[in-house]
Symmetry: C2
Subunit: 141 residues, 2 copies
């Protein structure tokens, strides 16, 4: 019997593969599944790299590399944070905003297909438990 | 509402963090969460790198790097495959076997703690759906 780590890794990989296929088919070039660690967590008004690291669970260094790649690809730009001039915000470009809107629709579509595979009620219950378990159980410091 | 990709990424991260803490506390030095892509899929009699890539969903190049690291750390060794002398098997060392046995017990422990958090029946139903959804939906070629 596969363990919970293996199962959740497989679900994540299947989800990312499906999303990546749809995003690429829609003509958003150059994106790799790993870029989801930035694009999935980006506010339309911009987000600090440290917040992207917190939200995605990726290391800040990894986020920095991904933002570099996404900047080269034209999906995001680094801009000064109006709230703190020493800080930078990662802001989606017009292309990035179109990608975020498209990805949101694709995600809803993928979730619908999962719900159809196993039944809407079972999927809703599954989603509730996943939401509860995904809330991190931080170890006491 | 967080999407299924974000939720499964968070569950995986929480699971890996808990497992990694227990493994490190038990004195298995040098291992990082990423090494799970090899150690979680390794047969005691050895496994080909290409099978580790298939099972984990990681690229063969990534598996190669992880096996290099694990070989340096003393958890695995590369040996000729008795079934095909041109092929190599990645085989756990004695230390690797001890780590695999310990990790298996820790995984059971973590799953028990999840079941306690949300109730045994809900967790069992959740696990069933996760198993069904984790079976990859390969696109037709």
């Amino acid at each position: 019997m596969a363990d919970l780590g293996v199962l959740s890794a497989h679900l994540l990989a299947d989800f990312q593969r499906q999303l990546h296929t749809r995003v690429a088919d829609a003509g958003f070039d150059g994106l790799r599944p790993r870029h989801g660690a930035v694009m999935a967590y980006l506010d339309l008004g911009g987000t600090r790299a440290s917040d992207l690291a917190d939200r995605s669970g990726a290391h800040k260094q990894v986020i920095g590399t991904l933002v570099d790649e996404l900047e080269t690809l034209g999906y995001v730009a680094r801009q000064p944070d109006p709230a703190d001039r020493r800080a930078k915000l990662v802001v989606p470009t017009d292309l990035g905003r179109r990608q975020i809107a498209a990805a949101r629709a694709f995600v809803a579509d993928i979730e619908r297909s999962y719900a159809e595979r196993i039944g809407a009620d079972r999927f809703a219950a599954f989603r509730d438990v996943l939401t509860a378990l995904a809330a991190p159980t931080r170890p006491s410091p």
